[in-house]
Symmetry: C2
Subunit: 186 residues, 2 copies
DNA sequence: ATCCCCATGTAATTTGTTACATGATTGA
DNA sequence: TCAATCATGTAACAAATTACATGGGGAT
């Protein structure tokens, strides 16, 4: 199916380039910081995406020679690229998907020893803290020139992360007490 | 890489089968109701997963002839399957990933007309309500015999969904007012 | 010495999605 | 008559992850 307005890695790269020319390496850093909590992408997706965009005329590529290192390739968005981006942004109902092996695992908590459940829960809490820190770092480094959208998205990430943390902390006992059955304490 | 303890579609199927024998069709319904908000899977993943599990001896398959319809294939987990499942549950840090074209789109809200932003926001709120309803339905239909883990997971879904809804409602104005700049009202 | 940062890319693999293909029964 | 539920599966396609492949410069 020809998805005219998919927000895939290519489209996000295009969007990032509206903020100024950049290399694949630069974009990767942005994927890690600002986009880290909701749109992961590695070099293996970014470099091919940029090549493809250049082939289609949505970006131009200026090759800057360097000694010792591979040429630095700086990409810039074209008018056609801008049009393509706006088209993609026209999707009236972009999706928001969660894929959680964490939750899938806990559905079978009754098959796991309490110790293992604790480990899973603790590692998630660690990850949450890491993620929250990442958002705060990105926020503090450059709030001034952020467009409102990015601010909104960072706030979204914070709100979700905090809600997740709170829920896990307040409800983890459900998974431990009596291995699924309420313990008769009296 | 040999991922010994990946919580993929195959493993989740295996887990569901610990609750009793079932067909691919049955499992699909469970994927939609209980697992819908964090682990989507269609027939295109479930049927091949079950075939593969049967081939590997992790489940057995009883074929029940029916007239008019294809044979109903009822799968049951084996001891080897149970061992495989417990192994998968041993992953100390199962992931929890978000992939959001919604947030990616809003990062570029400053390039979109206000109307379009409203549309995107409204469609997300609709989706949130739909998702919340789904969780509530699943919950009301069979709370009694649910293991604690499933209850925890449903609560998690509710908490996240509600937090999301609240955030969007309380902060949507950030995206509309003056297209990213505070409007000088005085 | 060793590790991290810079800087790019390809190839193989995994994983999942979508569309296609079939077809009876039941209720509105 | 039309839609939904039951019931299974394959083939083509899309997308992303992971590992591989290279290599200088600077800091500790």
């Amino acid at each position: 199916m020809l998805a005219i307005n998919a927000m895939d890695v290519k489209t996000v790269c295009l969007g990032m380039l509206t903020d100024g020319a950049a290399s694949g390496y630069d974009l990767k850093k942005q994927f890690e910081s600002t986009f880290g909590h909701f749109f992961a992408a590695g070099y293996g997706s970014i470099y091919p995406a940029l090549s493809s965009l250049a082939e289609q005329g949505f970006v131009t590529c200026e090759q800057i020679p360097q000694d010792g290192k591979p040429d630095r390739k700086v990409y810039e968005i074209t008018d056609a690229g801008m049009a393509r981006l706006l088209e993609a942004l026209g999707n009236p109902a972009p999706c928001h998907k969660v894929r959680s092996e964490f939750l899938a695992t806990l559905c079978f908590a009754h098959l796991m020893p309490a110790e293992q459940i604790e480990t899973v829960l603790n590692s998630r809490l660690e990850d949450i803290d890491y993620c929250l820190q990442m958002i705060l770092d990105a926020e503090s480094s450059c709030t001034a020139n952020w467009p409102a959208g990015v601010e909104f998205v960072a706030g979204f990430g914070k709100a979700m992360t905090q809600a997740m943390k709170q829920y896990v902390e307040e409800n983890r006992h459900l998974l431990i007490d009596g291995t699924g059955k309420k313990s008769a304490t009296g």
